[in-house]
Every structure is written in C-alpha cells, then in structure tokens.
Symmetry: C2
Subunit: 720 residues, 2 copies
C-alpha cells in the first residue's frame, strides 16, 4: 500500500554539549538522579560526544544547511531520521557538487561517496586523483553531507604482496585526504574484509585509528549468516572461496578484537535481499552499528509497481530506526516509477523547483519515509528517558548518603509505584482485620524509610479505602526529609494517626510492635540498596505474625552485548570501573537469553540461621540460531512481591508498566567474552556481607573462566 | 638395580637479595649484559624473591637448621634438592615434634602436615583444635620444615549450603592459623577441587590471596588426563560423577583464571601410578608447579623387593628436578625392606644415632636420592647461566646506545661464535681467490661494526689459514671501542693490513669497494638489532659480486606456556610491558609446538624494490595428545647462514653448541590465550619500518583474536 507522504525539511536540533558536564559521582536508581533532561555526556572522562542522541550517528556537526528528516516523530532526535544515498560511480571533475545538489533536492540527506578514483593505483610521486579539489564543496558541505567511501579494491590480506602494500598505501592516503577535506568530517566507510582472516587489514586500520581525533571509521559488513549458503546473494563475499557457513558477525568480531574495541570503529551493515534469523539479527543491536546500507535488490515490488520490503525487512529497519541507526540507499534502481506524473506524492516545493528530474532512487527513499512515519510515536516515558539511554550511573547509597530533595521529588511522581503499594496495604489490612473487627481493631503500621511521606499517604489511603483504623509510625533517618514529613502531616491533618520517628530503623527502640511493616528500600537489583539488612534490623519490632510489605523480592540477570557501555567503562582506564555495577537505561543492547533469577529475600525471616549472604550459579542457553556473540556483561532487574498477588518490578517479562523509579542495573565483564554458537554461558554471582559493607562478586565459568570480579568488594560495595 | 647411596646433609646455600637490585633498563642479548652472576631479582618492580634459584620453591627462609639435600649436584642450587614427606594422620597433642624429628633424622627435609584436626567442623565459639600449640615447634622449625596441609574435607562447591559455609569458614581459619604460626611460613597446600566447577572455591581462595603477604598457596591437583578413564586410580576425583574424559590441567586452568593468575598461587601435583602422555605432561613445565607429591602407589617393586619407578615416571621426575620442583613422598609403605639389616646403605651417622627405627617411607626417599644423583652434572654453560633463568632483559639497542666495555668483553669470550666466522671467511676467501692467484690478489674485506676487534682477528686468522692476502677496513661507530681497536692493531702489529675507520657504516664514504663484508649485528631474533638496515647502508661499498658474511638470517618462533614470565610482566601494571619483546634464558617454560620460520633477510640485496618490512602468518598445530593449554606468548630464535654451509644460531633444533652470546627472545601476549585441545594457533607477525625506528607488531588470530600488539611501535621499538 502506498500512502501519501509529505516530507518537510526541518531544522536539525542539536544540543550544545559544553554546559553538560556530569560529575563522576552521579548516582541514581533510574531517572531519579538530578540529571537535567538535556544533559548527556555518557562518559564523564571522555570528551563530549558530538551527537545528542545517545548513540545516534554523529558524523555531522551543527550546520546551517537544511537537513531532510524522513519525517517528524515526536521525541525522536536521533540521526536515524536522516537517510543517505550511496554514490556508485566516481564523479570526476566537478561531478560531485551536481550529484550532491541532485540528491539533496530529492530529499536525501547525505552521500556515501568515493573520494578517490577507484582506478588509481599508487605510483611513486603521483598526485592522488581525488573526486574533486577540496574547493568544489564548501567545508560545511563536506562535513555535513559527505561520508567518505574508501576504495573497494583494496585487499590488505591478499597473498599478493604488491597488492597488499598498494592497498595499505591507498587506504592511508585516502584517509589522509578525508581528514584534510574537513576536520569536521566525521566518518569514512571502509570496505568489508575480503576474506575470513583480516589481521593485516585490522592492523593497518588500528594504526590509522590511533591517529584519528574526530573521524570515525565504519567497517562495511554484509548482513549474512548462512547454514546453507544462498549463492545468489553472496555478492559482497565473492572472494571467499570456502564459504560453507558464513556468519559475517564473526568477521566484525575478529576485526574489533584485533583493533581492541576501538571506540572510533563502527559498523555499516549491508542489507541484502535475504536475511538471517531474527535471533542472529538481534546481536547487532548491541554492536556499534552506525548505518544500514539498504541494497535496492533487497526490495520487492508491490502490486502497483512500487518498491516495498518484506515483513522481516520492515521489522529489521524499524529496529534500526529505534536504535538510532541511519539508512543509506544503495544500488541501481529496479523500479521505474515516475512519482511526479502520477501525482501521488506532494514533495516540498522548494526542492521540486530545483530538480528537473527525480533522483532514480527516490521511490526507495519514499518507502523509507513511509516506514519511518508509520512507527508509533515514542511513548511519553521513553521521551523523558531518552537522554538517559546508555548513560551509566552509580547505584544509590541511601544508607550512607542522604538523598537530595530532587531525588525524593522524582520518586514521589511515580504514581504507579504508590498505587501498587496502596493495593498491597489494602489487601493486608483486610487480611489482618476482618469486617467484624473494623470498629474495634486499630492496626499498627510502620513505614520504615518514610522519606517525605508518599508511603504514609498510600497507607492512609488504603485504610480509608478498606475502612480500617490505622496507627502509623513513620520512621526516617534523614533529618532533612523529616522536616518535610512534619509539615506534610500538619498540612494534611494526620497528627492523630501518624507518629514521626527521626531515627535509623536499625537502632530505633520501638514503643510497641507492628502488625504491618511497609518499606521501599529496593534498588534496581532488588537487594542492592540493602533492604535485607535494613529489614533485619526493623523486624525486631514486627509482631511474630506481622506482615512485611514487600514480602519478598528477587533479582534477575541476563547476558547482553553492549559495546557502547563497555567502551564507556573502558574510558576510565582502570579495573575498578569494570568491577562496578551501574544503573543504566539500556538501549544499544542485545539481550541474548531470557533473564533468570539470582537472589531472593523474604520478610520477615525470624530463623536464627538466616543469612543475607547468597551464592547462585546460572546457566544461559542462547537460542540455537543466534550464532556466536560477544557478552559484555549482565543486565540486572528485580521483581518484588508486595503482598500476595500484588507485585512490582522491572524484570522485562513481568515489569510494571509506566513505572520509572528504576532503570536496570548492569554488571560489566572486564574482558568481553566470546561465546561460540550453541555454547552455554555459566555465570556465578555472590552476595557477600562484611561488618561495614555488602558487595557482589561475579565470574563467568563457561564458555571460559573470567577473573572473579570485585574480590573482597575492592571496587564496588554498598556501605552499611 | 639398587645402588649404594650416601646422603650428606649440607649447608643450604642462600644468596642474599638485598644488594641485588636490577635497574629496569638492563639490556642484553644473552649473558652479555653486565649482570653479576649472583644477581637475581627477576622482576625489577617486585620485592626480591626469597629464593635464589630462579623459580625454585621458596617456602623457607635462611635458617640454621641443617638441610638434607638428596645429594650434591654441581651448580644445582634449586629447592628440588630437598624432599619432603606427607603426614597422613593428624598428630594430636605434641605428636608433631616427634614426627618431625623422626622424619628429619631419616633425611627427609620437611613435612607436609595437617595443622588442624580433620574431624573438626566449625561450631560457634569453639576453639580451633590445632595440631599443637604454636610452642611445640620453634619458629624456625615451623618456617623451615612445615608446609601446612589444609583439611581435605572442605568442599566449597557443594550443593549443600551448610557444608559450603563450614568449608569457607574452615579454610579461612586454617590459613589464619598458618599465618599465625610464623610470618616466615611460606606455603600451605590446599586440597584439589572436588568437582569440575570450582568457582566458589576459587572465589574464597582469591579473597584469601589478596590478604597474604609472604605465604604461597599450592593447589593440589592430581596429575591425570584420560581419554578412557582408568577407574582404579581415580581416587582424588572420586566426587566427580561424570568423568568420561578428565584433564586435571583444565581444573587448574579454570582455577587460576578465576584467581586472575595470582602470583602467589602455585600447583602441587599428585603423581599417580598411571601417567598421561609426555606431550600432556610437558604443559606443566610452563606452569608454576612447586611440588610433585609422589604417591607410594606409583612405585613398582624391583627384583630385590625395593621400590622403583617406571621409565616414564623416572623421566618425569628428572624433568621436575631440572625445573626446580621438589618432591614430597606420600602414602603408606608398600615395601617392607629393612635397609639397616641389609647394610646396603650407609646413612649419616649423626642421624642413625637419633633414630632407633627407620622411617617407613625411607626406601622411597632413597630411590629419589638415587634418581637425583644419577643425573648428569649441570653443564658448565648452564651453571654460568643459572641466575639468568627466566630473567627478563630488554634487547640491546646497539645502534642508539654504545655498548659498554663489559658487554664487549662478554661477547669476545664466545670463542665458538668467532670460530664459525673464521670458518666462513676462510671459505669465502678460497672462493674469491683461487690457489693460482694467492700471490697476486689481495682481497678487500670490511668489518662493519668491528667493536674491539674480534672479527678483525678472525678475518686475519682465516687469511693466514688459507694463505690469502687481505686488506681489512675496520669500521666502528663507537669512539670508545675505536680506542681499544687502535691499541689492539698496534699490539698485534697489524698496521699494514688493517685500516681503522671511526664512522657509522651508514654514512661512511669508502675509498674503494669491498670483496667481502663481515658483520655481526644479529640479535636474538636475527634482525632485531637492525642488521638489515645497517647492511643496506653498508652494501653501497660492496662490489656487485661481493660476499656478505652473514649471507642470510632467519627468525623463528614457537608458542609457549610461561606463567612466570607472564606474572613478572604483569607486575609492571601497564600495557607497554606486555607489548615489549624480552631477551630471556627460558627455563620454566613449556614449548608447545616446533619452531617455525618468521622473517628472512639475505645480503647483499641490490634489488630496487627491496624492503625490510615483513609480514608473516604462522599456524601451529599442537601434538594431538597435548590436551588444552594456555599460551602466554612466543619464544623467538634465529639462525644465520654465515657462508654456504657455515651457520650459527640458537634455533633449538639446529643451534650452535656452547655459544652463549644470545638467549632466546620472548614476545608476550597481553592476555594469555586458552587453546582448546586440537585447535590450531594462528599468529601474525609484522616487521614495520619508520623514518627513525623499526618495530614489530603481533597478534593471535586463532583460536581467538588478540588485540594487535604494539600498534605503531607505541611500546617497543628499535631506534635507527
């Protein structure tokens, strides 16, 4: 189905980075920290990234050139709005400006263009036959609209030594030329490895990467993985003679390992007409994919003769749009449709004036715009959280540190969470006090960690809702929050029902015992804000048949590919940051297997042998058709049973919708682990308790043992 | 065959460490540097090791107690001279002193003894039932003669949580007790992992290791590797239900990876009656094996009823003696032979007085002494080089730095090398000048890099030997060496034959062209002292039909396990030291596959396209029965063809005997690579040339890619 689309070139929104320095001690559970919504430098020690979109392509700097997004999507500021086109023939002389003007006027946003005549081979003393002098385009055109394409003939791993040496020289010359064209130019695409061993290619690229400051290199990789090779579409890999089973991810993996996970090395994926399994595609969402180069051959033809994509291709491209990957259309047109004459498209008038003829690939661009605009708008929550994507925060230390007012405020806005508490408290009150006793029995409820009062409010509302009488003790250790709590009680007129206790629950000497103990001391990983230790202290004043809300909670982990997080941690250049868990809104991540339970705690627990130490071994089996992958660490979640069937949590399969107090937690691995196809991942997690601190240790055992992470809590702990 | 043996307790020779600080810039080719023979701190940044014997056991400090070596072997100062005995039963009360006295008087040197009653299980508030109060032995007895044995019942990876927690507590308590017994006590043996997954055991040991300062932990590992399991001898591993194929090396490997290659974690190998293949045993010579615990069950009985070992066991034990591994006899006696009554043994009188009865295991000790004494004495060269074992030196930079007099002196003593040169020059002279021409033709020979004159002498001797007339130019860039050279010429009366040129050969303007160019600019890796670059400069003044001696040279590498070298490099805590090649006398190393050729250079090379850049890929196949292994890096060698069939080199299969100018070179890997059984190792080596320096880069490609090492020569290069 072809629909009317309208493309309005819009001003590109760029957020200036200079004011947005983050302190290294930023802590949070989710978007609870005092992060201004426009703050975004994801790695405190790294220079501010050029792009605002948390992992979006960033090969262009702010410019006065009009940009041509595929359409408006509320909240989407990522570079996936922009679509480029690959220039297949070398534009000699001043051909490039004409090609650029034509493409821009057809609403493409940028060109992937060769910079040097592909027929050129190095000869001593020769002048490089470049696409044009550096003067044919303005510096801002070079930097905003051109991604350089390195000559595809180069073969750094050829057995022919002369070809190898020529290739090395050419690659270096072309990158030097690209660097010269504009210091702002941010990317070159380098051709795919020509064979499965690419060590020499990687060596030369690695050498180049170390000399680059602003520019990124995008390694072009055909998106293919075959058990039985599909001969027809083996175009990119035609130099590989022994291609029984090809998984092009393996090429990428070898290349980036050899280049030591360089943070300037990215992937540009060639999308072909056949696609591997969804599980195998999913791996790429955790990899630094900057561009999807969509071959015109990958398009089908609809009943009206227009290009369209298979359902699987559509799903993949929507995934790319959602992961800030931008599309580049490539190939010869296979669809001769004259949109202008059919009149089904109304394009921007400013552009049709400039363009006597449509760009041959316009029908494909139109289809991309259709796909882009067809997506649901970003949910409101997602829009609020967009600047937190893949931004690493240290978990809160609410026991050691007093929370700030702003953090309380953010927490208190999470109405979904307090609604769940109110439901749980209501059920507990009904269980505690039968309808016959409502007028004679007053339930003693203690809120431990009352903060500025939201759980007190939820408790009183539950009492009102169920017609139960309540006596509330609100225990809070932060004297600043207690001040606000007092004024709240006064304001609401709750003095007769609520007693405020300014004390640490672990040392409070309660005047009576409670029927119900209400707390919200949960971290992203459940027990990581020391809820178990606090409630052990508080259950002294819970009656033997008393109820704790929450009554239990469980943590979960799953293995993930997360190259961006790995690189951000690596930028700190120490082991300690690799032995620390982070709170992070996971975005550019591939979740490799379903989450599994790690640690569970139930309250109250009056057993004399109770301990809060835990040790769990987990084995993850990846879906068979995934192929090999690289694991950078583990995403962690929790689920809490508040009371009976009332739960809340962030475990993806059961998560409470529209709750924003918690982002997932991320446990990194010091060295990413290669997991061969069909090999299980075995990971061990320990929760360790000392006199003054609690910490986790973790280690991989299979497919190969990692060091024990965070031994003795040397790098990361939570203070008691 | 039983022979008469005589065991004389001797004074233990200890070398004091305090005066022996090495500078970090120590450079050498072999024992050419100014290393005093008694200097030995192998890692400049580490505290001096307590033992002198380059990797030998060091659980004891200097003491006045008499030591009981197995015998005298000239030059052997390693702890493999001392044999211990395992105490199987817990000596209650003051039983330990009696056992110790009895064992020492029977010529055992130390005990491997339990410190705590093995029946003890932790109970709150209980006193640890230790083997005896700390007063039953003197501090020097504890530290010199007792290796602690941790209770064997502990099972840190049991599914039974209580057993697991008890085990953790017990292990920590026993280590704490061992630490208390004497700060000097240097080792405890910890029991073998009870199952193939040992992550929790490793975690606790890792925690402990981080708190230890002097003490080592020796992880006990049964020496077994089976394709088809031998049920009878599966004693240690009896808790492993699914033991189709057992390779106990895998346990060790997992354990040490989890413990992050801790330099205080060692292996004690239990030697059983059946042995795996020699290739699989060979792996252990590169691992930190401190002790071989020889089970009495492993012994056979000879015709006269005495214990003896199979040929394969003998070979293994000789290997251990040569690699500084000490033996501990363990088990019940299976051989009731009364040596005293037979009178075949004359033991030290001082001891027989103290001992009314022979130690039950004395026949086994006697056999060990027999094996030890039967070994050939250490060759003289080995004795000179013993303090260089596994000591890392930076390669010489003879182009950038001028050599010191002491280095020249060491080189000049290597008569084997100069004899080879003389033979080569003689053959070249005969080829250049036929017998008819001897009286009319004077050959022009240039020695480039003449130093203090040894090659000038070899040249003149070759001329005399062959009756050829010679005109020698001696070119030397080091003005200090030139002074010595002048006096040598005068002293020898060579003024008419030798012209001294004080110049760098690369810029000397020669007055005539040479028939023969003689040089010795070879490093341990052949070209690594830039012989190619120097000879490119010098061949300007070689006649087109001139001869270069050497005429070619080739470098070689082979993959090795070398845990000690890895740990010494790791102690520097930076990447640069892992991207540097070292000259090192390899000792505690497992050579995993035969060496292969890397780079070759031939001289003269007048081709206009000649380059000294090189790129080589090598694939190593390990013998099938080796099993898996860990590769820490590559040992490198060279072989040089001086002229026709006259060569010299250090490649192990073809090395020139008794030449000591060069030790091997070692290229480390930043992260040791696990090589699964039967997986090939693919490594790529590059020789790169810049304007001011030459360097190597290297990378593993299979079994898994490593980062490219030393990219752009950032860590290690040779200056031009």
């Amino acid at each position: 189905v072809l629909v009317l689309i309208s493309i309005h070139p819009g001003k590109k929104e760029r957020i200036k980075n200079k004011k947005q320095k983050r302190s290294q001690t930023e802590r949070g559970r989710g978007r609870s920290s005092s992060l201004p919504t426009k703050t975004l430098n994801p790695s405190p020690t790294k220079p501010p990234p050029p792009s605002s979109s948390g992992g979006g392509a960033s090969h262009r700097q702010p410019t006065h050139q009009a940009k041509m997004p595929l359409g408006q999507r509320a909240g989407d500021k990522s570079d996936s709005r922009y679509c480029g086109v690959e220039v297949l023939d070398f534009p000699a002389g001043d051909g490039l400006p004409a090609v650029l003007t034509h493409s821009l006027s057809s609403a493409f946003d940028f060109l992937l263009a060769p910079l040097v005549d592909p027929d050129y081979r190095p000869t001593p003393g020769a002048v490089l036959p470049v696409a044009a002098s550096d003067l044919v385009l303005s510096p801002s055109q070079w930097s905003s609209h051109i991604v350089g394409k390195i000559s595809e003939w180069i073969d750094l791993d050829s057995e022919d030594e002369q070809l190898r040496l020529d290739s090395e020289l050419t690659l270096k010359q072309e990158i030097a030329w690209a660097t010269h064209l504009s210091l702002q130019l941010q990317a070159c695409v380098i051709p795919p490895p020509k064979r499965s061993t690419c060590a020499n290619y990687a060596r030369v690229v690695n050498n180049i990467l170390q000399g680059l400051t602003n520019m990124q290199l995008w390694l072009r990789i055909p998106l293919e993985k075959s058990e039985s090779m599909d001969e027809d579409h083996d175009k990119v890999n035609n130099n590989n003679p022994t291609s029984e089973t090809v998984d092009s991810w393996e090429w990428w993996n070898s290349f980036r390992l050899l280049c030591e996970h360089s943070s300037q090395l990215y992937v540009a994926l060639d999308i072909l007409s056949s696609l591997p399994s969804m599980n195998s595609l999913g791996r790429w969402f955790g990899e630094p994919v900057r561009a999807a180069i969509l071959q015109t051959d990958a398009f089908l033809t609809n009943a009206r003769g227009y290009p369209c994509l298979s359902k699987r291709h559509q799903t993949l491209l929507t995934g790319f749009f959602n992961h800030s990957v931008q599309v580049i259309i490539s190939g010869r047109s296979n669809h001769n449709v004259s949109q202008v004459s059919e009149g089904v498209l109304s394009r921007d008038e400013n552009h049709t004036e400039d363009t006597p003829t449509q760009h041959a690939l316009s029908p494909y661009l139109d289809y991309m715009a259709y796909l882009y605009q067809r997506m649901d708008p970003l949910p409101e929550q997602e829009r609020f959280e967009i600047n937190y994507r893949d931004f690493l925060q240290s978990p809160l230390q609410p026991l050691m540190d007093n929370l700030e007012a702003q953090t309380y405020e953010t927490f208190e806005k999470d109405t979904v969470k307090y609604t769940q508490y109110q439901r749980a408290i209501a059920k507990a009150l009904v269980d505690k006090v039968s309808d016959d006793e409502v007028s004679t029995t007053r339930t003693v409820l203690m809120v431990v960690g009352a903060g500025r009062g939201p759980l007190v409010r939820a408790s009183l509302q539950a009492a009102e809702e169920t017609g139960r009488m309540l006596k509330v003790y609100a225990v809070e250790k932060n004297p600043n929050a207690v001040i606000t709590l007092h004024s709240l009680i006064k304001l609401e007129g709750w003095e007769s029902m609520v007693t405020i206790i300014s004390s640490d629950m672990r040392c409070w000497d309660a005047p009576e015992k409670a029927d119900i103990l209400v707390s919200e001391l949960l971290g992203s990983f459940g027990d990581n804000e020391l809820s178990p230790e606090c409630l052990d202290g508080a259950q002294r004043f819970l009656k033997p048949d008393g109820i704790s809300i929450p009554s239990s909670y469980t943590s979960f982990i799953q293995p993930v590919t997360a190259s961006k997080l790995h690189n951000d941690i690596k930028a700190h250049k120490d082991i300690a940051h690799f032995e620390t868990a982070y709170v992070v809104k996971l975005h550019r991540v591939a979740r490799l297997a379903p989450p599994q339970e790690v640690f569970s705690f139930a309250h109250p627990n009056f057993s004399p042998k109770a301990t809060n130490q835990r040790y769990t071994k987990l084995q993850f089996e990846l879906p068979q058709d995934t192929g090999s992958c690289l694991v950078h660490g583990f995403a962690g979640y929790f689920d809490a049973v508040l009371y009976k069937d009332v739960h809340l949590g962030i475990e993806p399969n059961t998560c409470t919708p529209n709750m924003f107090s918690w982002f997932p937690i991320f446990f990194p691995l010091r060295k990413p682990i290669y997991v061969p196809s069909e090999s299980p991942i075995e990971v061990h997690f320990w929760r360790c308790c000392g006199a003054t601190k609690v910490w986790y240790e973790w280690a991989l055992v299979a497919p190969s043992p990692s060091p024990i992470h965070n031994s003795n809590g040397r790098s990361y702990w939570v203070g008691l």
